[in-house]
Subunit: 164 residues, 2 copies
Amino acid sequence: MAEPSGEQLLYLTDEQLRQGIEAMFFAYRGFTADPDRILQDQSYGRAHHRAVHFINCAPGTTVNNLLNILGVTKQSLNRVLRTLIADGLVESRVGRSDKRERHLYLTEEGKALEAQLSDAQRARMRSAYRKVGPEAVAGFRQVLEAMMDSDMRRNYQTLRETKS
Amino acid sequence: MAEPSGEQLLYLTDEQLRQGIEAMFFAYRGFTADPDRILQDQSYGRAHHRAVHFINCAPGTTVNNLLNILGVTKQSLNRVLRTLIADGLVESRVGRSDKRERHLYLTEEGKALEAQLSDAQRARMRSAYRKVGPEAVAGFRQVLEAMMDSDMRRNYQTLRETKS
DNA sequence: CTTGGAATGTCAACAAGGCTGACATAGTGT
DNA sequence: ACACTATGTCAGCCTTGTTGACATTCCAAG
């Protein structure tokens, strides 16, 4: 074998990549496990969690905007929103300037659920972050960002800007 | 505000954790996008991909073993296996010592599909890894490992040992 | 040896949450 | 007036998770 170079670098071998793939699979399971557990008793699922999360992040967002972020069809999102609105967790207000648009807000009850789910998920991530330290976290974030589709990266960065 | 300390460290703030959560969400979408695209034409989905992946990793594994790794019910896995076996991608052999067990192997056709899916997923990960360099990759892996459930970490490490 | 329980795997039926397609309604803008 | 946009809804399909019921096989205690 020649000196390591190009594709031969240790961290780019097929075996290393395979391990990364499996780590991603198992870690994502852990990542969603706590909110899933909380929601399983209620008639909600992961889809509701995602909707509530992003409405909380960007209060007043429109349905269309949420659609782009979540990457599902409007029929699919609508099913989820309908139940959330019916149960009084989300409020849908007709737009002032453009009355076709619906702006979405969490009610107090909605915020409470969001906080409950968010706390659980953050607790796990905080524990992981604390175990490995800031340099590892920086690397983690860099890899995740590089792994996104470019249009999703745009959404992600928009969300970062509006809140940080 | 006092000096940053304890929970006050920059990388442990709620806002940083929230960004990490969203990065994980978007990155996982990218992570599965390529195999999903390849499979959507066929009558297979992500569940088939996962089964094929782990059978490829551990040829001769039993159904029960696969169950533990994948974390789904045996009925759910069975449906996937049934179609894979019917289509000649997976072979199921009755155990010699214990005839209750079924040992699973990929056929040549199964290996071909696995390679196709795996290549696509590795390509994305390789590109991300190359962009950010080995130190970031090391941090990425550390965080993922810290984020797994402990029982899943055991599975993950077992898989690493048997193959590396 | 037999018999009961544990382990393993299969089949059936149901629910969540994706998807497409078609269509209604209402508001915007030319 | 007319085309286009944003949203909501209905119907129906697919994948993939769930539980319940059941068959087969193994093993160990009586």
